[in-house]
Point group: C2
Chain length 160, copies 2
DNA sequence: ATGTTTGCAAAATTTTTGCATGCAC
DNA sequence: GTGCATGCAAAAATTTTGCAAACAT
């Protein structure tokens, strides 16, 4: 049983959108994809293998729709295009990104300590949080090793 | 004494770039600006008032340069264009953004509890953090009031 | 049947690049 | 003087839109 696809059907029905093959195919691409940070062009490439007649505009419109339906989450890693990942609700809220400033690899980590931060924000600033996104920039372990081997100092920490 | 402009001069000299009037004018625009999340087009508009002959390409090249020099920080609020803010070192690391999903207002808040998170990341994942960016999405107090007045329920919290 | 969704092509928007001229060093 | 930086215009890249045809309900 594939709960993500069920969610699509449910939410499509709820909001009176239509369950088209394109929409199912696009969601399936995300489910099957190796990589989980896909750009519109990436999705286009994947979906074209299964449904070659699809148009790029449909990809864009569908990514927008899925984001609205909270099936996908829109990401930006500063590479000049939007990227999307499956929004696995229970999970996603504690799921953040580590971006290596050297090799640009994006990895993920889980943490729930930001919950505490959110309640502070709610109290102090009267802001009702529904989601957050944390990007941490730095050097991944591979790059740290490479730099150590090359005798390069590890860059400024900006920690004052 | 304006330390930001001093920093520009120092870093430009360090890296053997040239201190041009355009570069100074662009930085001054950030120092003087009311709004502190400026897009290339915003900067272009501001600088043109002082130096009408400037080209938009210069703005782009300069924003890139300043980001490289750590004078500016590149931001993305999902509105389809890059935005930049002064990178006030001692300060910036604890400085995050609250984005209202209703009115798109971006406000700021300070917090240093992410320091702790960084040391956890360093230990657990062997990732050497140099910076982080936190975006918190939700409803600002104004929108909460409006919604309350209108009898609308405040949207899903996604907090499981 | 009807109104939504699609694919295509064209447009819009943001950003980048090539090149001759100008300016900081 | 030399070479980096600028302004302009053109190009590139990403995303959006208009429209007739196709499809889900």
């Amino acid at each position: 049983m594939n709960s993500t696809m069920e969610k699509l059907k449910e939410r499509i029905k709820d909001k009176k959108y239509k369950l088209t093959t394109q929409r199912q195919t696009i969601l399936q691409a995300f489910i099957d994809a190796e990589e989980n940070h896909l750009s519109a062009e990436d999705v286009y490439g994947l979906v074209k293998q299964v449904a070659p007649e699809i148009g790029l505009a449909t990809i864009y419109r569908t990514l927008d729709l899925f984001t609205e339906l909270d099936l996908l989450k829109r990401l930006d890693f500063g590479d000049g295009r939007n990227r999307y990942e499956l929004n696995d609700e229970e999970f996603a809220h504690f799921h953040h990104h580590l971006i290596c400033v050297k090799c640009n690899e994006v990895s993920e980590f889980e943490d729930d300590m930001l919950e505490t931060l959110e309640s502070i924000i709610a109290k102090k600033l009267n802001f009702h949080t529904i989601d957050h996104q944390l990007k941490v920039y730095g050097y991944c372990s591979k790059c740290q090793e490479k730099m150590k081997a090359a005798g390069e100092p590890i860059g400024p920490t900006h920690h004052a």
